[in-house]
């Protein structure tokens, strides 16, 4: 009998039919492709930016031109900035009811389950289509608590302009890296969230980002400011149909967690396989505060994604739970960074990565414990599963510990699917594919249970596609 065929693919390509439906591109305004000062000025004018924001954009553009393309990660040669249309504004303004959202755009979000999710348990929903937010709504009772959840552009024109100016790209400055600079120059859309002191937002807020136009870039900015002793769960979902040209996503998320507050940020990223996802996420946490990241990366052609936490206040904490699944043609470089900058802080990173069919799924982590962070603790654990011998999964940890009063642990495991387990399941009538998908699902389960239910279900569907509902 043939030896166990380790080359066989296990989990079929994700069924993308829902995500892949392309809407006819019918944009109201589009800048010409490539990036020039003219374009940045156009975007700024089109958006009616305050002067300081226009200047910020132009400054960022200068920085962008000076910074080199990163050379330490996956190749981004396939990305030619000259071909990325930075700004595509859909032919609609922002609405506060789905009824006002144009039919085709609304249908897209209906298919993705966004309005249903809003009805069934979200405090607020934002939906961005290409470069602009087309929908934003927040429950009245949440608004009555003083919670602000709106698109960043509107917020810039209201009473929060000063607050935005004091925070916008202060955590992720345009000098951070080339794509942060690009973001600073052409950012568009995204959300602004403010939670006042002492307010606990019991149900999550959710933003969904959809990139429809081919060859376009999406550069949304999410700015979350949570005052003292407050709580927020923010969910972010992303998808795009697949085109044959490269798309670019260079979003930016900045989260300010106040003293004694807790923020949970959950993401399921399911960009199509032509997307370059060069996203930057960062949080700073005040005394006794907590940031929790839950992150699922499934889509994109190439990803650079390492949410960073700055533990600035004494006894602040971070938890990161992530899963990355790379299939054919994908190179997903994901991980987490943490800077312990105060005494008694702690970080806890748990990730799983899966690679199949020649995919590359790397886990990169960086833990820095500064001189000021005596009595801090950090544990990083990464498990990876390779489904065949052509796939790759590497762990690249970096540590910089500057105090001897710290407790630091790192654990990495690389595994393959156990043939014994596959045989056991097949002896119960399961096909080889189903058996393997079940094992992969079991591997991912500790992460899935951290995700909001509908996202856990979506993730399971992505993994268990072959099983077509046979598993309850």
């Amino acid at each position: 009998m043939a030896a166990f065929d380790t080359e066989k693919t296990v989990v079929a390509d994700i069924d993308r039919t829902v995500y892949d439906i392309k809407d006819k591109v019918d944009a109201a305004y589009e800048v010409s492709s490539g990036l020039t000062e003219e374009i940045v000025r156009d975007i700024s004018r089109e958006k009616n930016d305050p002067d300081w924001m226009r200047d910020f954009r132009l400054k960022s553009l200068e920085i962008y031109e000076k910074l080199p393309i990163p050379d330490w990660g996956p190749s981004i040669e396939g990305l030619d900035m000259k071909n990325i249309v930075t700004y595509v504004r859909p032919k609609t303004g922002m609405s506060a009811t789905w009824a006002q959202v144009p039919e085709d755009i609304k249908n897209t979000f209906e298919r993705l389950g966004i309005p249903q999710a809003e009805r069934s348990g979200l405090a607020g929903v934002g939906a961005q289509y290409d470069s602009e937010v087309v929908y934003h709504n927040v429950r009245k009772e949440v608004e009555d608590q003083g919670v602000v959840y709106t698109d960043l552009e509107s917020a810039l024109k209201g009473p929060y302009e000063g607050m935005i100016r004091d925070h916008f790209m202060h955590l992720v400055p345009p000098t951070d890296h080339k794509f942060a600079a690009l973001h600073g120059a052409v950012w568009s859309g995204g959300s602004f969230v403010y939670v006042p002191a002492g307010v606990s937002v019991e149900i999550p807020l959710q933003s969904y980002f959809r990139l429809n136009a081919p060859g376009a870039g999406q550069f949304e900015h999410t700015l979350i400011i949570v005052d003292k002793n407050a709580y927020l769960h923010f969910i972010e979902g992303c998808s795009a149909p697949k085109y044959n040209v490269a798309n670019l996503h260079a979003g930016c998320v900045e989260i300010f967690v106040g003293e004694g507050s807790r923020v949970r940020y959950s993401t399921i990223e399911n960009w199509s396989k032509n997307m370059y996802n060069l996203n930057t996420k960062r949080a700073t946490v005040g005394k006794g505060g907590t940031i929790e990241w839950v992150s699922g990366s499934f889509g994109s052609h190439t990803s650079y994604l390492y949410p960073m936490s700055i533990l600035a206040g004494e006894k602040s904490r971070m938890e990161f739970t992530g899963i990355t699944f790379a299939g054919a043609g994908q190179e997903l470089d994901t991980g987490a960074k943490v800077l312990h900058a105060a005494p008694g802080t702690s970080s806890h990173v748990t990730t799983k990565s899966i690679a199949r069919d020649g995919g590359v799924s790397n886990f990169r982590s960086s833990v820095v414990i500064s001189e000021k962070a005596a009595g801090s603790k950090s544990s990083v654990s990464c498990e990876s599963l390779m489904l065949d011998s052509r796939s790759r999964s590497d762990t690249i940890p970096a540590m910089d510990i500057r105090t001897d009063k710290a407790d630091v642990g790192h654990e990495a495991k690389i595994g393959r699917i156990s043939e014994d387990a596959v045989f056991y399941l097949m002896s119960r009538g399961l096909s080889e594919e189903d058996a393997k998908a079940l094992i992969v699902g079991g591997f991912a389960e500790p992460i899935a249970k951290e995700l909001p239910l509908e996202y856990a279900v979506e993730m399971n569907n992505l993994i268990h596609l072959e099983m077509k509902g046979s598993i309850g």
Binding site: M1, L425, G429, A435, G442, F443
Partner: protein
């Protein structure tokens, strides 16, 4: 005579180029109870694994027929769907799926249609009670953290729910306490009938109490060295394998 349920002809099996079985013949008729005994490391588990189609074992010579069909090349899941079942000497732990969901999936896979939820659940609870497995185990991940004895009960629970035509029981009794062995035998008897056949690998006569044993095979160093009726079990348990081999 009608076609035997299982027929093994001149089976040679290797693992990692090393031959473990050197030509085994065995026939099991419908409704029969067969016992396979033999010293440790002689190839009993190898034989049932090869019959179930474990890809790590290579059949280099000989054929395996099940229900009259040559299944030597068939995949393990095909054999399972045809009604073959192996109770493992060391069952696997599979996180991520509960015992109940797994058995329901397995029943659906072998029967071709997903069992109705409520009827299935009722039957599962009944069988669990029969085996002395607490209901809460239905919600636990498949065999994860189960004790040795609980894993064996989980195997027999799967047997009772999946209702195969042929059960290969590889040392199901080892790791079970005296009462549990009796419970498991009761369970097996409830499933066994004039159509369903059994091949039991054991080092212990206890599990056979109350079962009508038709044939006993003694495997030694990869060959069947002795065959006989139920009386052989007593000979071996009293006098050891040396006693039966001498007579050969």
């Amino acid at each position: 005579m009608s076609t035997p349920l299982l027929k093994i002809e001149g089976l040679h099996v290797s693992v990692d180029e090393k031959e473990i079985l050197h030509g085994v013949d065995l026939e099991i008729g419908a409704g029969q109870v067969h016992v396979l005994m033999g010293p440790n490391g002689t190839g009993k588990s190898t034989l049932v694994s090869a019959v179930m189609g474990d890809p790590r074992f290579t059949v280099t010579e000989g054929r395996i027929y099940f229900k009259g069909e040559d299944v030597t090349e068939a995949k393990t899941d095909e054999r399972a769907r045809m009604g073959m079942f192996l109770s493992f000497q060391a069952p696997q732990e599979i996180p991520g799926i509960t015992l109940e969901n797994f058995i329901r999936t397995a029943c659906g896979a072998v029967s071709g249609k997903q069992p109705k939820l409520f009827a299935f659940r009722r039957e599962l609870r009944e069988q669990m009670a029969r085996l002395g497995l607490d209901e809460s185990y239905a919600e636990r991940y498949l065999n994860v953290g189960f004790s040795g004895g609980e894993k064996k009960k989980s195997e027999i629970l799967q047997l009772l729910m999946m209702k195969p035509a042929l059960a290969l029981l590889d040392e199901t009794d080892s790791g079970l306490d005296v009462d549990a062995v009796r419970t498991v035998t009761e369970g097996i008897k409830a499933w066994h009938n004039a159509e369903n056949s059994l091949l039991i690998i054991t080092h212990n006569a206890k599990i056979l109490e109350g079962l009508d044993v038709d044939h006993v095979h003694v495997l030694s160093k990869g060959l069947i060295v002795r065959q006989g009726g139920a009386e052989l079990v007593r000979e071996i348990t009293e006098g050891g394998f040396a006693s039966v081999k001498e007579e050969d």
